[in-house]
Structures are given as structure tokens and as C-alpha cells.
């Protein structure tokens, strides 16, 4: 089996889905000739032509807005926003239209749209190139939010997202893009949305993470009886798996790189506080980015939760 990094795995997923279904098209800034600034769409233009791989004007609301029209018409657009920091101008289209088209038209029109975008810090990028605002999209009924943490899950999840009849915001960690290589089969497989993955089994504490933070959790969990959950789909998230694990371990630490306040960690913690509190032995801890604008490269490393900060919180909950 070929060893692929996440960029290659996502590229493969796109290729397979475009071959399978002529209604799948790719659009965005520099996704064609240039193959995308991270090379995720490399080779697609050559293979599928400019009709299916569209280099668009510099226009995020226009990209998502036109993609909504295409999706309603019957296509399955996969729109790329070059960095998550540039998705905000398209937020109105995502929230006011993509998320609501099905409900507003009582099912007559649907929006099978995937908005792919690289997210997160950790690659010494310029300002506004390190955003991790998944929480905003998890507060939008009608939108699904997916964040893969590995090449093989990225491939299976993206294929499911493309086939999903509803709009999906698909977040790709720039840090993970070329960090890991693993076996990724080019055989047909998908990973269902809405289901989490136990990345490591354990009995004493549950770590919950997604995307790039999963790997730091696994590192922090080394040598202890910790269970690590890769949430994969943040909205709707897999409550069952989460509660089952929490009931088993009685201790939970949630980790994400977004700022703490109103991050997705809050929802996970609150859900536990509502549904599983009686089983909990310790407070639910959150290890997150600070309530601050993500700093430029010189301070980036201080901003992101690292293995030590995660370990400290684990030690904290293990005290109970």
C-alpha cells in the first residue's frame, strides 16, 4: 500500500470522487494551474479540465455563494477556501444560505457542498493563516464540521463529505498536511460522518481531540492508561462514544488549539456535565489556545497547547 501524507490522501480522495461522479467539481483560488497553495488539488486540472477544476477570482463569498447555486442545480462542488482565516467573508453564505436551503425550501432544494479549508497554527505562517475557528461552524444548524487527523481518515472522511447530501465544512490541519505518512489504500472506502474513533484505548482518563491536537494527545498519553478519542466529526459529534469513555474513565481532558472561551471544548465539557457528570471523578479540564489573537511565528509555540500543558492537566485530573 502506498504511504501518503494528508495532502496526497486528500488529493486521492478528490480524484476518486471526481472519477466516480461527474457532478463533483473543484473550485477555489489557485486550485487549478497552481494545484493549490498546498498542492492538495495538484494534477486535477490536467486530469479533469478547466470545466471541473475552476480557478476563481479572489472572492470567498463568491466562491461559496456560486457553489451553493451549483449544488442546488445538481452539482457537488468542493470549494476550497485558501486558508481558514479567509472563510469569514463567506460565513454569511455558509450560515444564511448553505445551512438553511434544505429547511427553507422544506427539502425541495438541498446543498451537497463541501467547503475545504486548511486550518490551524504550527507552520510559521503569516497573520490570519493559523485560524482554528471550528466552533463558529458547530453553532450553525444545517452545517456539518469534519476535522481529520490522519491521512487515511482524511481520505475516508472527505469521500463521505462529498457524498453527503448536506453542506460540510472540512478542516485540514496545515501542521499535519506533511507531518505524517501512513498506508492509504487506493481501494474504495469511506468513514461515516458523526462517528468518533478511539485512537488509543485506556481506562484512567479520556483525552478528546481532533486534527493536529490529536497527535499531541497521543504523545502526552504515552506510558499511561489513557484513552484518546479522535472526534473526527465535530458537528454532529459522537456523544455516545464520548459518554461511554467518560463513564469508563471518570476523567476527561479536552484539547484544542482554538481559544478557550466558547470553543468546541466547551460544548464537549457541557455535554458531559449534563449527561455524564455523576460518573465523573474529577473536574473536566480544557487545554486550549489562549483567549487571544493567534500570535505571529515568534510566539506561536507558546500559544498552542503542547505535550507538557496536556500532561499537566492530566496530572491535575489524576489527583482525584
Amino acid at each position: 500500500m502506498p504511504k501518503l501524507n494528508m495532502v496526497q490522501a486528500i488529493n486521492l480522495a478528490l480524484k476518486e470522487e471526481m472519477e466516480r461522479d461527474g457532478s463533483v467539481i473543484v473550485m477555489g483560488e489557485d486550485v487549478g494551474r497552481d494545484g493549490g497553495v498546498f498542492r492538495v488539488t495538484e494534477g486535477l486540472l490536467e486530469k479533469f479540465g478547466t470545466e471541473r477544476v475552476m480557478d476563481t477570482p479572489l472572492s470567498e463569498s463568491g466562491i461559496v455563494g456560486t457553489a451553493i447555486g451549483m449544488a442546488a442545480y445538481g452539482l457537488r462542488p468542493v470549494a476550497e477556501i485558501q486558508f481558514m482565516g479567509f472563510i469569514y467573508p463567506a460565513l454569511d453564505q455558509i450560515f444564511s444560505h448553505a445551512a438553511r436551503l434544505r429547511s427553507r425550501s422544506r427539502g425541495r432544494y438541498t446543498c451537497p457542498l463541501v467547503v475545504r479549508t486548511p486550518y490551524g497554527a504550527g507552520i510559521r505562517a503569516p497573520e490570519i493563516h493559523s485560524e482554528s475557528t471550528e466552533a463558529l461552524f458547530c453553532h450553525m444548524p444545517g452545517i456539518k464540521v469534519v476535522v481529520p487527523s490522519t491521512p487515511s481518515t482524511a481520505k475516508g472522511l472527505l469521500k463521505s463529505a462529498i457524498r453527503d447530501p448536506d453542506p460540510v465544512v472540512f478542516l485540514e490541519s496545515t501542521r499535519v498536511y506533511r507531518q505524517i505518512k501512513e498506508d492509504v489504500t487506493d481501494e474504495e472506502y469511506t468513514i461515516p460522518l458523526g462517528k468518533a474513533r478511539i485512537a488509543k484505548e485506556g481506562k484512567e482518563v479520556t483525552l478528546v481531540a481532533w486534527g493536529s491536537m490529536l497527535h499531541r494527545c497521543l504523545k502526552a498519553a504515552e506510558g499511561m492508561d489513557a484513552e484518546v478519542i479522535d472526534l473526527m466529526t465535530l458537528s454532529p459529534f459522537d456523544e455516545e462514544t464520548l459518554y461511554r469513555s467518560a463513564r469508563k474513565t471518570g476523567r476527561v481532558v479536552v484539547v484544542h488549539e482554538a481559544p478557550k472561551t466558547c470553543g468546541v471544548g466547551a460544548e464537549i465539557s457541557a455535554s458531559l456535565a449534563e449527561e455524564a457528570m455523576l460518573y465523573l471523578k474529577a473536574p473536566i479540564m480544557r487545554v486550549t489556545g489562549y483567549d487571544a489573537v493567534i500570535p505571529l511565528p515568534k510566539l506561536e509555540d507558546y500559544y498552542m497547547p503542547d505535550v507538557n500543558r496536556i500532561k499537566r492537566s492530566i496530572d491535575e485530573v489524576m489527583k482525584y
Binding site: E51, T66, L75, Q93, L101
Partner: protein, 351 residues
């Protein structure tokens, strides 16, 4: 001198039917007597519907409503040029477009009475649910047009929006996409001179709205929006052009909002009665009636017949709308996704 002109553009205006009902034969589009009668009946139906909607709102039988009084020709004239396969993307003030393409009027009352089911477009029509956020639906038309082009369908997408809508970033991005991808799209601006209390000249410093097309490298034209023939002709030309792969067009229908912005508004706070009086003389239906009389195709009994039929249709629509059963509370959750989420399933147990 090397301070040379590198680009010039002219914005034209199309007028065919005068206020006194005279039509410029040279410009008159090829419409049969029957078609003209059809257009007339639609105009009357629209006005009857609109009048009733305003009454229903006053009686508290529907919610806030946005009247189309005065804009019937802009809406019917353009919609009449559409083929069944074309896609329309209306704003909230396009009841005339819905009615002209055959959308069941009772569903419109249903929507304005606060029931989403009224927006479930019948399967044989291609019109989007009204867009409440101004201008944000214009990119959808560009996208649908791009999709039609990709599918090689002989289909055009038409977006309707107001003068205020032209100030939105989405107007800009949508028209720019349509221009770049030479999409079969037609952008119809209903310039009714007001955006709630903001007069047209404060909306933009541009002399016309049609000239905004210059920014996107395609044609913009202004038409007398109270002249149903001019509106029809400009739209028909734009649709043909679009379907022949010649790209998009921006049409500014120069018309007037005769009513308050909505039933929640009081226009007397910000505009003069005189202005409204002036525009009364330019009424689009009166004008067509004068034309038809000249042509001898508008007898009193025919006129009465048309009005009675319109009244009947609207009466029936109200009856039907008010007889549909109350929506089930769970409906508000059911249509969020194809399948409810586990959390939504739990939530639905509340009902």
C-alpha cells in the same frame, strides 16, 4: 497627447410603451394578441393578490408583507420572458415573479403567514425560496448559471434584487463571477427608487445602476420598468444572449415602490406624497390598458372578466391557505439535515 482614452462605454435606456399607451412599433417585441392578454391578466392578478395581502395583514391574518404595487410590469414583463426550464432567484419583493411563472398563490399567502411550507417550490418549477438577506442570493444565480453551462443545458439563471441590493458585496462578487465565466445569467435590478428610507441617489453616486455592469465587462441596460413591453424585450434579449453563450446582462428596471416598504413601515416619515402622485401617472397597468384600448382588444366586459377571475383565484388561494393544518412543531427540526442528528432526535421528543 499620451493621456489617451483606453475604454469607453455607453449606457442605453429602452422605452417602448408611453404613459398614454402609445407603443414604438419599431421597438415593439413580437407579442401576439393572446400573449398580450395573458400579460394583462397576470398584471391584474398580481395587483389583486397584492391588494389582498395588504388587507390580510391589516386583519392580522398574515404577517409582515412587502407590497409590489407599481412594480408589476417589471416583475411580470421579465418573468413572462422566462422558459419553464430557466431558474429564478427572487428577493422577498418578487411575488409578481412567482405568480407569473405559475407558483400557487395560496403557498405565497402561506409563507407570509409564517409557514415555511409555502416556500416548498412545486417540482415542476425552478424558483428559489425568496431571499430575505438583501443581495445575498445573487451569487446563487451565477452559480446555477455556471452549472447549467457545465451541464450544457440551454438554461439561464435570473436573479432579482433591488437598488439597495446593488450596494452589497455579494452583488459585486456574483456579477464578477458571471462575467469571468461567461455564465448564462441575467441580473434584473428592480430600481424602485427606495431602499426603505434611503433614496436611490444616496444608495450610490453612480448616475444609473445599469452602468455598474461596466465593472464586470458585460452589458448593462436601463429600461422603463413600468413599461411591460420594454421589460419583456430587454429580458428576452438577455435570455437569448445568455443561452447563446454570449454571457450575462444587467437590466435596471426603472420603477417605483408605490407602497410603504413593508406593512411594518411608514413611508410618510421619509418621502413626499407628491413623489407618489407623480408616479401614479406612470402606472404600468393603466398604460397597458390604454394600449389595448387603442388596439381595440380591451372591452369593458373583458376587463371585468379578467378582474373577476383574478378575484376568484385570490379568494380561492386565501381559502386554501387558511385551511391547511398547522405545521407540526417537529418540522422545524426535521428539515435541518437529510437525517436528524442524535441530539435532534432527543429534542424532537419534546413534541
Amino acid at each position: 497627447m499620451p493621456e489617451k482614452t483606453i475604454e469607453s462605454c455607453n449606457i442605453t435606456r429602452l422605452d417602448i410603451l408611453s404613459e398614454t399607451g402609445e407603443a414604438d412599433e419599431a421597438l415593439m417585441p413580437p407579442l401576439s394578441e393572446e400573449q398580450i392578454r395573458k400579460i394583462y391578466a397576470l398584471l391584474v392578478l398580481c395587483r389583486t393578490f397584492d391588494h389582498r395581502a395588504l388587507n390580510l395583514q391589516r386583519e392580522g391574518r398574515i404577517g409582515t408583507y412587502a407590497s409590489i404595487l407599481g412594480q408589476e410590469a417589471s416583475q411580470v414583463g421579465s418573468a413572462f420572458a422566462l422558459e419553464k426550464s430557466d431558474w429564478a432567484f427572487p428577493s422577498f419583493r418578487e411575488m409578481g415573479v412567482y405568480i407569473a411563472i405559475g407558483y400557487p398563490p395560496y403557498m405565497l399567502f402561506q409563507y407570509w403567514s409564517g409557514d415555511e411550507r409555502g416556500l416548498r417550490t412545486p417540482d415542476d418549477l425552478n424558483i428559489f425560496p425568496v431571499s430575505i438577506p438583501v443581495g445575498t442570493h445573487i451569487p446563487h444565480a451565477s452559480g446555477a448559471a455556471m452549472a447549467a453551462k457545465y451541464r450544457k443545458d440551454k438554461v439561464a439563471a435570473v436573479a432579482y434584487f433591488g437598488d439597495g441590493g446593488t450596494s452589497k458585496g455579494d452583488f459585486h462578487e456574483a456579477l464578477n463571477f458571471a462575467g469571468v465565466f461567461k455564465a448564462p445569467a441575467v441580473f434584473i435590478c428592480q430600481n424602485n427608487q427606495w431602499a426603505i428610507s434611503l433614496p436611490r441617489e444616496r444608495q450610490t453616486a453612480a448616475k444609473t445602476l445599469a452602468q455598474k455592469a461596466v465593472a464586470y465587462g458585460f452589458e448593462g441596460i436601463q429600461v422603463d420598468g413600468n413599461d411591460v413591453f420594454a421589460v419583456y424585450k430587454a429580458t428576452k434579449n438577455a435570455l437569448d444572449k445568455a443561452k447563446n453563450g454570449e454571457g450575462p446582462t444587467l437590466i435596471e428596471c426603472y420603477t417605483y415602490r408605490m407602497s410603504d416598504h413593508t406593512t411594518a413601515d411608514d413611508a410618510s416619515r421619509y418621502r413626499k406624497k407628491e413623489e407618489i402622485e407623480e408616479w401614479k401617472a406612470r402606472d404600468p397597468i393603466l398604460r397597458l390598458e390604454l394600449f389595448m384600448e387603442r388596439k381595440g382588444i380591451l372591452s369593458d366586459e373583458y376587463k371585468k372578466k379578467v378582474e373577476d377571475e383574478a378575484k376568484q383565484k385570490v379568494d380561492d388561494a386565501v381559502k386554501t391557505a387558511e385551511s391547511v393544518e398547522h405545521p407540526h412543531p417537529a418540522d422545524m427540526i426535521t428539515f435541518t439535515y437529510e437525517k436528524p442528528t442524535p441530539r435532534q432526535k432527543k429534542e424532537m421528543r419534546d413534541f
